[in-house]
Every structure is written in structure tokens, then in C-alpha cells.
Amino acid sequence: MANEVVRLDKVRRDYLVGDQVTTALDGVDLVIERGEFVAIVGPSGSGKSTMMNLIGCLDRPSAGTVLISGDPTNELSDNELTSLRSKAIGFVFQQFQLLPNTTAIENVMAPLLYQGISSKQAKKSASQMLTKLGLGDRLNFDRNRLSGGQQQRVAIARALVTSPDIVLADEPTGALDSKTGAAVIDLLKDLHREGRTIVLITHDLEIAASAPRRVFLRDGQIERDERGIR
């Protein structure tokens, strides 16, 4: 139990589109343990974005239970959900989503500052994390002066700097050429080897194959849950 970082129990998520109810996830059960590297795979409309939102504490289920690091998200207020997200989740987005008009180090400092950590301490941690990811000489570059791969590494540093329970990567290679994309996947593998929990959301089977566990979604349900390197 203590090793479960994600538990979904009979989770259902309905959306109201116009006056029609669409069910994006329909009775999904899923457990992810600390230190796992899981790919959530499926075509668009399969419910993988909804699952990312639920695991990422950006959304709450319509029915069923979502436990993140042991905390049920159903009844949390917006503020409590934000606190849980800030503590438990590190996001890596497809389009990097670096903050505008900010430097690499300011991006990585931001999650720490939102946690109320002092600017001095945040700067120190951010600088260490960027240096670890090979961007020690790019700390004060703004995003226009960074390549796509460098931007994604800044985004990964931003996701890691709070030491979250889960690194949630949404199509992290989607905006990169295949060589740079492969380097990012290698970086995620390294992080997994260090003991981090990685959840990778992708539609790309080849990318998914780099994860030791693959959960296939179709039409809001889990179609297959594979383990083992292929």
C-alpha cells in the first residue's frame, strides 16, 4: 500500500459536451507502484488525456476513487488539489510549455516559489537540477535561445526540481525530431533507473515500447496491461 503512488478504483469520467454526456473513462482500475516506468498508450479519443488529468490532479473523477500518493482527490478543494499536485506531480508537456519572458533557471525555480520556498534556496536547487541535465551553461538563456531538445530538458528539470512522486510526461517527444526525441526518452530511462516513477502518455507504439510496462487504452477502458521489455 505504501508503495502505491497511483490507485484508480472503478474510475469513471463523464463530460458534458453541449447537452450530451460523453464518457471518457469508464470503470478503470489501475495501480502504479513507486519506481515504475509506465506508458499509457492509445489513439486519440481513447481516454489517455483524461487519465493524465486525473493522475496529474488537474481533474477529479465523476465516479470511483483516485488516490495519488495515498490521498483521495475526489473531495479536495481547488486549493488542496493544487497543493497535492505541487507536491506529488511533475509535468512534462508536449510543447515544452516554458513560461514566456523567463530564463531557463526562472522556469525551473517557479514550482519551488509556488511552494513558498525562498528565492535563494529555489535558485540553488534549480541551478543544480539544470546542471545535472547538462544545461549548467544555459541558466540565464531565455527560451528563444534554446533548441527544442534543450527546452524539453529545461521542462524536465522543472518537473524534477520539486522531487515529485510521479513524473507525468505527456507526449514529451511529440515536438522533437527523432534523434532529439530518442535522447529525451533515454533521459527518462535514466531517471527511472535512479528510482523515479515515470508515467509516459503517448499514442506512439515505438515510444511506448521503451517503457517496461504498457497500459493500452481504447474507448475509455483498459484493453491490455503489458509488462516486460519487448
Binding site: F93, P111, T162
Partner: protein, 388 residues
């Protein structure tokens, strides 16, 4: 995130979009500058009016004839008999002509009693007031007001020369510098005796100015003087008199109430432009929230609370408005400085103007910033992240 960090984010954003920020501020800049400059004009005008009224003293009463034969010198003598009073001066005036050489213009010829110049103390530009020797029976001296002097083209070398009033010879002894004054322009001053010879109005006078010994006695004196004059002319208490008695203090009060109203009116108009400026800020902030929806989503995802987003946008609006206020204040004070030079009044930066200008712009920032900031804070993170 601590407040300072959020404030730094807001400033960073404003700096990153300098041109847009400047244009957004413009409405507030113009509004505040207008308020500051207009307030200073009203202040300056009332300063000038009060100054010329105050030279006459607040314990004085002006008794003015409404018909040419309504008051006489004998009335002045009777008023002098009242208690706690002194008669300051008597004036008698009529339209006439003044001429030097070939120039001949119309002017108001004013006959004054001997204490007039000591009582009114008008500024002198050339020569002197009518002196005690001028008031000797035979002398025919004249002092010109500034406008009358301009009308006939008087020059400094004409002091002591002869000018003609209604065709009679007078000796020019002085020219007043009364341009900034109140009601003395276009006039020439002679003694009462001379006036009698110019226009045969004896014993009628156009006004009598009396003075109570203390300002507190003025209101009582006004009633006593009125009843004395009514008695002399056999008027009942309800009959309309052919003279009016004006109290300087109430005149000053009336003038300042007019300038206060004028000030309020002008400030009101300027305040409208400030509100328009505020709407401009709100408009741009709403556009900015929409443009930055993704950024808001990312910030929420990496741990920003609703309150962090609210504060960030609200501070942005307040900084825009307050910076506009500061720039407007500076421009307004510069305008007020030059207006003061033009209008010849005293320039002063008044604390209440500064507080008012900055207070209003702060208020505008808060009022018009809250809605966009709340809109930003209320965005759902997943919607914001998905926003294209």
C-alpha cells in the same frame, strides 16, 4: 509564492510588453494630468480673485447706488456718525472721454475721496497715487488705470503732461499696474471735487465704502447702515431700496463657492477620462488573460494556486494604473507650473492633489483589474492547458 515574487512577475510582464503597457497607461496618464492641471487652474483663479477682494479687507461694506441719484455725500456723512464705523472712501463715476494729442477714447471717469488709495492700495506702475496736494481744491490731477493708459497709448515720458478728460485739462501724475486686479481696468481716477466739475452730479455718489472696527461687527453694521439709509429715504422695511449693501466676507464666500463648484465640475469631467482609462486597462487585461491562457494553465499545473494567479494579474493592472497616475501627476504639475507663470499666480505642489491623483489611479487599477484577474484565476487548469 511570496508577494514580492508575484509582484516581480507582474513587473517583468509589463516590461516585456513596454509599448502596449505605455499605450494602456495613456488613458490614466491623460485623466490624472487633466485633474491636476484643472485643479491648479481653479486654485489659481480663486487665489487671484480672493487676493483682489482681500485687499479691500473683510470688515468692509460696499454700499452701491443702483440709480445715479440714489446715494449722496450727505449719506456718507450720516453713516460716519454711526458707532464702531469709519467711512473709508466715497466714489463717484461716470462715462466720459480721455484724450492725449490726437487719441481720444471712452473711459470710466472715477472720482474718489482722499482715503481711496490708502484703502485699496492698487499697484503703481508709474508716478504716484493722487497725493494730498491733488486733493487741494484747485489741483486737477489724474491717475490712469492700466487699460485706460494702454487705450490712449501713454508712455513714461508723458508723466506730468496734460491729458484731456471730457475736454478739460488734467495733469497726469501716475499709472496703475492693475492688470491682474479686479474691476479697476479701463478707468481713470480723479478727486471727487474734479469729478464734480467733469459731470455735475453733486451731491450724488455711486458708492460708499464703510468699515467696521472689527470683522465681527460687520454683520451688525450692515443692518444698522441699512436701517439708517431707509430712514433717511423714508423707506419701509419691505420696500426695495435703490442701493445694495455688499459684505466683502460674504462676497469672498460666494466667490469661493463658485470656484469650488467650478473645480468640482472640472474634476468630474477629468474623472470621466480616468474611468475611460480604467476601462482601457480592463480591456487590455482581458485580452492579456485570453492570450496567456496556456501560460495560466502551465502555472496552475506546476503548482500556482488561484490566489497566485489573481494576485499576479491584479498587481499588473494596479502597476499599470499607478504608473499612469505617477506620469500623469508629473505631466499635470509641469502644466500647472507653466499655467501659473501665464496666469501670474503662485505655483505649489499640494499634498492633497498628489494623494488624490495617486489614490484615484490606485482605485482605478483595483476596480478595473479585479474582473480580469478573477477571470484568470477561475480558469480550469485542464481547459487552460488545452486552449489553442
Amino acid at each position: 509564492m511570496r508577494f514580492l515574487g508575484t509582484a516581480a512577475l507582474a513587473l517583468n510582464r509589463i516590461w516585456a510588453t513596454k509599448v502596449r503597457s505605455m499605450l494602456t497607461m495613456l488613458g490614466v496618464v491623460i485623466g490624472v494630468a487633466a485633474i491636476v492641471a484643472l485643479t491648479s487652474i481653479v486654485d489659481g483663479a480663486s487665489q487671484g480673485i480672493n487676493k483682489s477682494l482681500a485687499t479691500l479687507g473683510t470688515n468692509q461694506l460696499n454700499i452701491t447706488a443702483m440709480d445715479p441719484d440714489a446715494l449722496t455725500e450727505l449719506d456718507a456723512n450720516a453713516l460716519a456718525e454711526l458707532e464702531n464705523v469709519s467711512v473709508m472712501f466715497v466714489q463717484s463715476q461716470n462715462e466720459g472721454t480721455i484724450a492725449t494729442g490726437d487719441t481720444r477714447v471712452n473711459a470710466r471717469l472715477v472720482g474718489v475721496s482722499s482715503k481711496y488709495f490708502q484703502a485699496v492700495k492698487p499697484e503703481i506702475a508709474l508716478g504716484s497715487y493722487l497725493s494730498s496736494s491733488s486733493f487741494a481744491q484747485t489741483a486737477k490731477d489724474v491717475v490712469f488705470g492700466a487699460d485706460a493708459a494702454n487705450d490712449v497709448g501713454l508712455t513714461a515720458d508723458m508723466l506730468g503732461e496734460t491729458v484731456k478728460l471730457n475736454g478739460q485739462d488734467f495733469r497726469l501724475v501716475g499709472v496703475l499696474d492693475d492688470q491682474a486686479g479686479f474691476g479697476t481696468s479701463g478707468r481713470v481716477y480723479v478727486t471727487l471735487d474734479s469729478a464734480r466739475k467733469l459731470f455735475s452730479q453733486y451731491p450724488y455718489v455711486s458708492s460708499i465704502v464703510i468699515q467696521a472696527n472689527t470683522p465681527e461687527q460687520v454683520d451688525a453694521l450692515q443692518l444698522t447702515a441699512d436701517s439708517l439709509l431707509r430712514e433717511r429715504y423714508g423707506l419701509g422695511a419691505d420696500t426695495d431700496a435703490r442701493y445694495t449693501i455688499t459684505n466683502q466676507a460674504s462676497l469672498i464666500a460666494a466667490v469661493s463657492s463658485i470656484t469650488d463648484t467650478l473645480g468640482l465640475l472640472l474634476t468630474g469631467i477629468a474623472a470621466i477620462s480616468l474611468i475611460v482609462g480604467g476601462i482601457g486597462i480592463m480591456n487590455i487585461m482581458l485580452v492579456s488573460v485570453r492570450e496567456r491562457t496556456r501560460e495560466i494553465g502551465v502555472r496552475r499545473a506546476i503548482g500556482a494556486k488561484q490566489s497566485n494567479i489573481l494576485t499576479q494579474f491584479l498587481i499588473e493592472a494596479i502597476v499599470l494604473s499607478l504608473a499612469g497616475g505617477v506620469i500623469g501627476l508629473i505631466l499635470g504639475e509641469i502644466a500647472a507650473f507653466f499655467l501659473a507663470i501665464l496666469g501670474d499666480w503662485v505655483f505649489a505642489i499640494k499634498l492633497d492633489t498628489v494623494v488624490l491623483a495617486l489614490g484615484f489611479s490606485l482605485l482605478v487599477g483595483v476596480v478595473f483589474g479585479v474582473w480580469p484577474a478573477r477571470t484568470a484565476a477561475k480558469l480550469e487548469p485542464i481547459d487552460a492547458l488545452r486552449f489553442e
